[in-house]
């Protein structure tokens, strides 16, 4: 892909108001989009760490159980419940993005976002309770 950027592109795409500017005008779709991007960054950060941690399997049972113990403290368990929330949001909003892209869903993007938020709350709370119960036992 050539990275040449025409003056028109620069004006219409690059110089428009950004979501992190104080006078950006928010709407439901931009809210969904920003959450999707932030959760995406968080998930990539987690993925890289996760592969690094799990690769200790190749160093045998002692090394693996040792590293798992290090990430098995209550702090990490609570963070894992947060991770579950981030996953659920990104997964279901991702499905919303696909519906919007492929099935003229832009008509219903706002309603679809409310469905995503509903599923996010239900699944995060439900899964969080199960994980919290595992933590206690």
């Amino acid at each position: 892909m050539s990275l040449y950027m025409s003056p028109k592109y620069k004006e219409q795409v690059l110089d428009r108001k950004r979501w992190f500017e104080w006078d950006y005008k928010w709407f439901w779709g931009s809210f969904a989009w920003v959450l999707h991007r932030l959760s995406g960054w968080a998930l990539v950060f987690y993925l890289l760490l996760h592969i690094w941690v799990i690769h200790h399997l190749s160093r045998g049972p002692a090394a693996f159980d040792q590293v798992m113990q290090a990430v098995g403290t209550p702090l990490f368990k609570v963070l894992e419940i947060g991770l579950w929330g981030v996953i659920v949001y990104h997964a279901f909003n991702g499905m919303r993005v696909i519906i919007v892209d492929f099935w003229h869903g832009s008509k219903y993007q706002k309603q679809l976002f409310f469905i995503v938020l509903f599923l996010f709350v239900v699944l995060w709370v439900g899964g969080g309770i199960i994980m919290a119960l595992h933590m206690i036992h």
Binding site: V44, I51, L57, F64, I87, A91, V97, D101, M131
Partner: protein, 118 residues
């Protein structure tokens, strides 16, 4: 200098982002369910050995790693294209993303493939 990322307009990256997304939707939710909901919550070497010695699980996990790395790093690249205008910095970041992807795939492959074969 015109830095070339993939020799196309980005349409393939856009399309594959959705394809891998659908795959990850299924496999990641399954992965998390098996690891955190249906099990005891205890993840030990012994618990994992059995699954990873099975060639089907091994293939599934390897494709999981490939799809997740592609989806994640391509997502970062899409965000970078929104914010970074300098072609030099784009080239540097793109190279880093590719190297990180290759390195972590290598780590995952040397962990998964020999499992149960020794």
């Amino acid at each position: 200098m015109s830095f070339k990322s993939s020799g196309n307009s980005g349409a393939f990256a856009w399309f594959y982002q959705r394809i891998t997304g659908i795959f990850l939707f299924v496999i990641l939710l399954l992965h998390f369910t098996i690891m955190h909901f249906t099990g005891t919550g205890e993840i030990t070497y012994e618990n994992i050995v059995g699954r990873l010695s099975d060639p089907y699980w091994k293939m599934l996990d390897l494709s999981f790693v490939v799809f997740a790395l592609y989806h994640g790093l391509n997502g970062i690249w899409m965000a970078i294209q929104d914010y970074v205008r300098s072609e030099g910095w784009r080239a540097v970041i793109y190279t880093i993303l590719v190297l990180v992807g290759v390195f972590l795939f290598f780590l995952a492959a040397v962990t998964l493939i020999p499992f149960g074969l020794k």
